[in-house]
Symmetry: D2
Subunit: 363 residues, 4 copies
Amino acid sequence: MKNSIGTSVILTLAGESHGSEICAVLDGLAPGIPVDEAFLAAQLARRRPAGVTDTARREADAYRIVSGVREGHTTGAPLCILIPNADVRSADYEALQELARPSHADWAASAKYGGFEDRSGGGHFSGRITVGIVAAGAIALSALKAKGIAIGTHILRCAGVEDRPFAALPADIETLAGAAFPVLDEAAATEMTQAIAAARAEGDSVGGVLQTAVCGFPAGVGEPWFGSVEGILSNALFSLGGVKGVEFGDGFAIAGMKGSEANDAFGLKDGRVVTLSNHSGGVNGGISNGMPILFNTAVKPTPSISKPQQSVNLRTGEIQTLEIKGRHDPAIVRRICPVVDALVAIVLCDLLALRFGTDYLKP
Amino acid sequence: MKNSIGTSVILTLAGESHGSEICAVLDGLAPGIPVDEAFLAAQLARRRPAGVTDTARREADAYRIVSGVREGHTTGAPLCILIPNADVRSADYEALQELARPSHADWAASAKYGGFEDRSGGGHFSGRITVGIVAAGAIALSALKAKGIAIGTHILRCAGVEDRPFAALPADIETLAGAAFPVLDEAAATEMTQAIAAARAEGDSVGGVLQTAVCGFPAGVGEPWFGSVEGILSNALFSLGGVKGVEFGDGFAIAGMKGSEANDAFGLKDGRVVTLSNHSGGVNGGISNGMPILFNTAVKPTPSISKPQQSVNLRTGEIQTLEIKGRHDPAIVRRICPVVDALVAIVLCDLLALRFGTDYLKP
Amino acid sequence: MKNSIGTSVILTLAGESHGSEICAVLDGLAPGIPVDEAFLAAQLARRRPAGVTDTARREADAYRIVSGVREGHTTGAPLCILIPNADVRSADYEALQELARPSHADWAASAKYGGFEDRSGGGHFSGRITVGIVAAGAIALSALKAKGIAIGTHILRCAGVEDRPFAALPADIETLAGAAFPVLDEAAATEMTQAIAAARAEGDSVGGVLQTAVCGFPAGVGEPWFGSVEGILSNALFSLGGVKGVEFGDGFAIAGMKGSEANDAFGLKDGRVVTLSNHSGGVNGGISNGMPILFNTAVKPTPSISKPQQSVNLRTGEIQTLEIKGRHDPAIVRRICPVVDALVAIVLCDLLALRFGTDYLKP
Amino acid sequence: MKNSIGTSVILTLAGESHGSEICAVLDGLAPGIPVDEAFLAAQLARRRPAGVTDTARREADAYRIVSGVREGHTTGAPLCILIPNADVRSADYEALQELARPSHADWAASAKYGGFEDRSGGGHFSGRITVGIVAAGAIALSALKAKGIAIGTHILRCAGVEDRPFAALPADIETLAGAAFPVLDEAAATEMTQAIAAARAEGDSVGGVLQTAVCGFPAGVGEPWFGSVEGILSNALFSLGGVKGVEFGDGFAIAGMKGSEANDAFGLKDGRVVTLSNHSGGVNGGISNGMPILFNTAVKPTPSISKPQQSVNLRTGEIQTLEIKGRHDPAIVRRICPVVDALVAIVLCDLLALRFGTDYLKP
């Protein structure tokens, strides 16, 4: 599907880091969904660089919704959202456009596009494109919230600092709403910020692990074999350049358990069937079981560092030393949280529309 | 896509654990690919239960290729492969068909299908269906091998025992070819087998982590944003019921590194651009970079254990105690390796056909 | 999508004219739909050759439903239906397998598959494969009928003989149910049969135009621009080798009208909004309007004729004279009617599932 | 696929008649294709209203390519093209927005979107959206032309006037290039223009039949059963609101022929296998045979007429008389020709990319 994802609710992305606008088209959303522009702006703000942990690039994100909305509600036609790129300094990049940045997409993209690709600021591979995901996802998040479905992501681990895992759901998700630095334990925020600033000071970068929870999602959604909730979500998450791992429930840890430890026994709560534990992360056989959907996402350290690195000149094929000078994020773990929330919301809207019809999210 | 996966090369699965046959339709494979029936049979044998680590169910896997092959070569028309189910003992299951087995798909499936689903032996959610993946995948594996692309999966970790990770590629993949118990370190095989047998003796089960390598895959394959090599592969892997995590390259470990540790610097080898390390697992920005594609898959312990468990009666909604008596695998890590190889081969054939055309794998 | 069609309800076809079985996999149908085997057998009988208008090949169509059905109802898992091929006489074809039959797929298939294709009896391009469509479609037709949606196709025109067009709907559809020679005017049946027999006697063949009506289909289904009811249906209809034209409502005739003649004014009937005419064939802007969906399908004369024809030898590239000796249909207009009904039913089940959810057709 | 079409080359449309911009995203086009802006502007001009046969609305079509192009060539990343809407007079429509216009999408759209749809000027169903198809298609047409593939559409029949059918191909296509009123016989242009003007004078409208030819398209492209060249093209053509019929080769006329008349015998021309006639329109069994692809498209009279019509009030459900006052086309046959060319070009780029790989159109 290339730059589109979804079957009934479909997101399409276009744009480059240093182009005039990023474009997101969100098709298939139910008609009648209120578009909460304050929430949309707030989500964009959460993704925006700010403070010592992020790039110095400043973006206004003065988005425009060009279609699909009338009198504050979705019409059912595709939404086209445009977000202008501002504060673009291509000059920073010009010098290094011939050199492939290690662990960036430059080299792989060159093999694919034969040198015609736009390399400026990472071009179409830049994290800047995620602004379109956040904008479109804000509307999906609102629609889900109105149905009692809440999504939240926090930084579980970063630069050796641990946040506490989700414990009280859905209250913990509420805590994260609008958080500039999304952690559950405030002390972790301070420590992580310091560790990120220290990495920046060294001209280095750090990664981290995110934990996401989805509460209120109905049981019986997803498909065997190749439309599993886990598979669909993981495909979406791996679209984000820095993501190198996805695990549901206890994930890699469950591989070390015994069946008697890992199985989620059944019980009743308020007359409703529940599982007494949630090692499975809310999904069995690819289908939601009504418990919170829980997953972790591994984010690698941002590959743009200012330390010298051995690189290849894409024009000449020579090995050369690269020193990156531009403005970069020493860590994207903070800014990627609203992106994950947005992407997950869009994907879940799609699964719900497939299961219950295109009007399911219509108020 | 429900029970189908792929865009240009498409696998469709049908069948149930206790039905007459499993059916796999593989569409879009290039014409002229030799069908190596001995290799196909060998791959089925690798997946077949055998010895103390597996279920006592005995399956002959007397497959038939009903279409798409003429005089030993693919015709370009869809291959329909049928594998009869043998040694079915539904009686083992009848008693427990009203009780949802913890961490199986029973409860989620009931929420989805409203009680019309076939529960016998896990029905359409049974691992038995993977026999269709292995059969179809054997032809894909052969086609890739003829193009110099090798795929191998071994048990990296199981029940506290570690195998050595891939070190010498592609030689290590050769080592695994046809292995009944796929590990790189023979001593690990013995220890793992003992640990699995011990779990069985306790009426319990164990899981593990698989490591897969793909060598010889060309650079420049895969799509930004939503057709990434990582996303497409992870979606396929999560189709397997027991899989709870997928990580590429250093995966979750890379999240704890600094950029200067995690980045793969460039170098030259035999005049070809390579990376000097492979923390990224052969994929950048969703696109293959020509290095080996490396990923790990977390497999949970098999949920069928004979210890008593608290369950829910799907008919009455009552909480009851379940004791499973049937024949089950105390671990699927051994049998799932050829399934992973097969699934990965099919998915990569699809990516190659999309990139280079439908005749790319034609000899 | 190659040999699969649909998004939420998906049909996949495999098999060849002279292979052992034809395979149809129907995925995504709601659980709980009764499988009326008598109706299924009757639909297969309607498609079966019989009498002077058809090929002398005799097929028993002893189908087997291998998966997806339990205790007479769909389970929600994919249905795999196998129909054995009987009375195969490949010897009839062997002589001519090197010669491309004019207006058959032979030459085009050879350009596509490079000679690896199975040519025996038309291979995967044979009309024999439609037996899978009819079998799968019978279940879709039953499901739609239970929702008050009726589908009927008759031969509007064949060999210069005209049937009367649909006038009293849905009663006319009832008339066609189970008809061996589906026309609304019995006299037309006799005349058409004679004309077809006459063509056969000359070693020639005839074509015709089919008219199809769908009654009871709800308004508001279909998508603007690329998921239109007309586009989706036409894509399905053109899959049938002999189809060369599809028109909705007044179709090509409407192109010669004025707007004031062609427009369907609105009125009320039993308190419900209706159109007073139906020149549009039940679809506006690609979306159903609640009126009967009406379309015509042009079927070319069967290309297998016994008159000598100038052909090309696919092996040598030489121009040679071809004289076809096998058993062939002098017209397929009769046998194709249940195929159209079946295909339309499957496609409409898909559109309904997308619009109203996967349980919409669950009783 | 809703507002997207294609598998490897994908067009997505968004926008409304009276919104700020129309948006077309074209994804999957090979890198390195020159973007001929003069040709793009010329194609937009061909679609633009002009003279007595069209609406009085004046549009500048000051398009912007926001992404996917660098230094005049495609980069391989998605092209986002924005075309501003100008000269919008919503006031013309406000009065009638409660009344469903007969044979427009208003009523069906209301059934689908429940009143949330944008009705102004037809909203997302307006022919205005086709400006995005023409802009994106211009680049596809250039890419095909560079490979020797030419596409042309003319008005075969309009208001009782006949143009001559394609006879000398590809020369006839050359004749049509850039034609303001695309016919092969100049006299037909004058007569058709007069007939359209006469219909306008009566407050009425007319339709017509278009004929399209594609020359130079390679043999062996397309898929059995559900990816046929005919099915894929017809699905695209029926996306256009006014299209009510599509026929390939001799289409509905072939249904009245005998096999001996309809079959295309084989011959040799310059050492290449050809068919001596082309009743099949260049496609057999869904697969291109190397001959020109020929098809006709039936276009209904534009439903916006100024004569009084019986309508339904979408708010109250009452039957009322509608008199349309806005500016409308008395015929769209002229303006739709470049839209058909564009849409066909995009679809054929997709089929070629699927068959021969994503770099096939790379110069």
